[in-house]
Symmetry: C2
Subunit: 388 residues, 2 copies
Amino acid sequence: MPLTYFDHIAGTPPYPEVVETMLPYLKEHYGNPSSLHQVGKAAKVAVDQARTQVADLIGASAEEIYFTASGSEANNLAIKGVAQARQKKGRHIISSKIEHYSVLHPLKSLSRQGFEITYVPVDEQGIVDPKAVQAAIRPDTILVSIMLANNEVGAIQPIAQIGRITRDKEIYLHTDAVAAAGRIPINVAELGVDLLSLASDQFHGPQGVGALYARQGTRFLPHIEGGTQEGGKRAGSYNVAGIAGMGCAAELAGRDMPETSKKLTYLHEKLINGLEDKIGDIVITGHKSKRIPGHVSLCVKFIEGESMLLFLDMQGFAVASGSACTSLALKRSQVLEAIGIDAATANGSMVISLGKDNTAAEVDRFLEVLPPIVDRLRQMSPLYKQGS
Amino acid sequence: MPLTYFDHIAGTPPYPEVVETMLPYLKEHYGNPSSLHQVGKAAKVAVDQARTQVADLIGASAEEIYFTASGSEANNLAIKGVAQARQKKGRHIISSKIEHYSVLHPLKSLSRQGFEITYVPVDEQGIVDPKAVQAAIRPDTILVSIMLANNEVGAIQPIAQIGRITRDKEIYLHTDAVAAAGRIPINVAELGVDLLSLASDQFHGPQGVGALYARQGTRFLPHIEGGTQEGGKRAGSYNVAGIAGMGCAAELAGRDMPETSKKLTYLHEKLINGLEDKIGDIVITGHKSKRIPGHVSLCVKFIEGESMLLFLDMQGFAVASGSACTSLALKRSQVLEAIGIDAATANGSMVISLGKDNTAAEVDRFLEVLPPIVDRLRQMSPLYKQGS
């Protein structure tokens, strides 16, 4: 059976051009960019070019890009790096209840070290209110970290409005743009952010490469300490092939975004409308229009997302139940809790994330395949019999 | 001019089989191993296999391997992770003066947080005395971190002897085996280590992948926090292709080691003898026999290593002056200082690190090319005229 990949939020297939770009750095240009000889220099040229390509995707300068091995590492670097560098100024940080665990867990660690964290709530559509951020600001606030788009419910946050609040104060604004980059236009100046996290595998680049944007002059300490790579902000030998691949993907994602975004918005609207037509007792989570193109998140009442996922997998559809990063943990999602979904409903959560190569025919087939699976699972569910 | 790569300590060209192993995970098997559908599972299978292959290289079990993005990250994870997990037991750590910066800088950070670090010295050949480690142990010592082989002077350390000292005490032993793995046989049980760091690009695997071995039951906290990857010890989406490549490289390096090691030992002895014959006023640094196969380190008096490196580069030889990780910093090496090399002599440091594909003919040509470069640079050096 041909496989239909509807799980782009867990990672996207690299562009063929990305793989082609990487190959020479796995084969003949294997040098260490820190070396001074010609083998090292060939590698350094690739890293420099990728830095410019990644910067261009978000309207930044090349020297403001720090390569990491993942979006999670970029989030750790931003949060812990700023906290350590600025703790003499203050130890209060503002974040939200719908952040990724690679923001929430570092914040929890900082709170054990005496930092105070205010988590602003979100509304039922998963959107942070900038006024809540403003109200949470204290004289000792050093950092606000709110994601640009949520991976689980797809909701796009009003970062530019928050940026206008933090801009005139001495408060850094970090945004986790991992789920947003390559999917919606990003300009760091328009957003007013000081730090922004990216992951290559979210925009058809290789896995295991990420980047942190830090506006020039932003103070943060390194997280991985050691050699002088990345201006002393991130030690560790360069993943030259991966970085070159990320650069190529950033360029192509920027080029394709207007067209892809239009197509994916059409497809996700078609999918949401079809689901609402064909399946009763479902809740589409997240915001109707402020949503990542191609992203559909829902809870199907009276059944378990896990089971739906496995049945869909047998029918050739790869989708996610909740966040792939936590799917092995089988915990209730903090995001669904934050938007007021009760635990029973949250059990039936599913994320369908379309990508640039998906088609309307695939969406149609999905809309044929899912309803009988839901029926069948509900027939087996004691909850459904009570509820219906 | 054909290039002769004599800088394997800065990174090694991947085996062709490694690149072949990686390609499917860049192309068709792009899934996230944390996903539960078949695309994710194909990726998970690759990660699981690589974990076994890496474990086999060092006599460990698969579940004791934690993948990272570099040896530096593995060192950070070991040092900071153990310090945080065990600080209630004690806050004293023993290390040496010749460690890599990815050990030394985390230790410096810990010392700012109230940890006390004892740095044991090394002898003139760059070897730590196990008795010095024993003498440094205090009731509050929680960790000893001594590298297995030094990247700058190639000296192999008596880790097994140190392991016999720490084994019966409640002190963890960590060894940075980045420069050693794939070059000398490693068995974690024989060494008696609790934690051991590895980097794929040191044994003909891809760049940007590393691993930390942690004996079952070893307590350490994660460094990059977030998702539940790697048993919650290292968050961040998997670099599946890179990990698969590292696994393949580990297997091949283990297979080839007996033959390669013999050949490289022959070549480095030939090179050292040739250098001593043909160039006056040089100091071969490190230990004569306890040396990484293929590793030659020396200081050429009265000239700058930097200039030698650039002249050699023009003649088609890629070598290093000091450590590639710090070569852009142009600082005096802490390692050469520790073995008692004065600052002027350290200026002329060079590391020639041979790899499995280098030949005796290349060594011969190097021995023809270097002496006239040294002569020419010395003629230009005011120090040489005073000294000679």
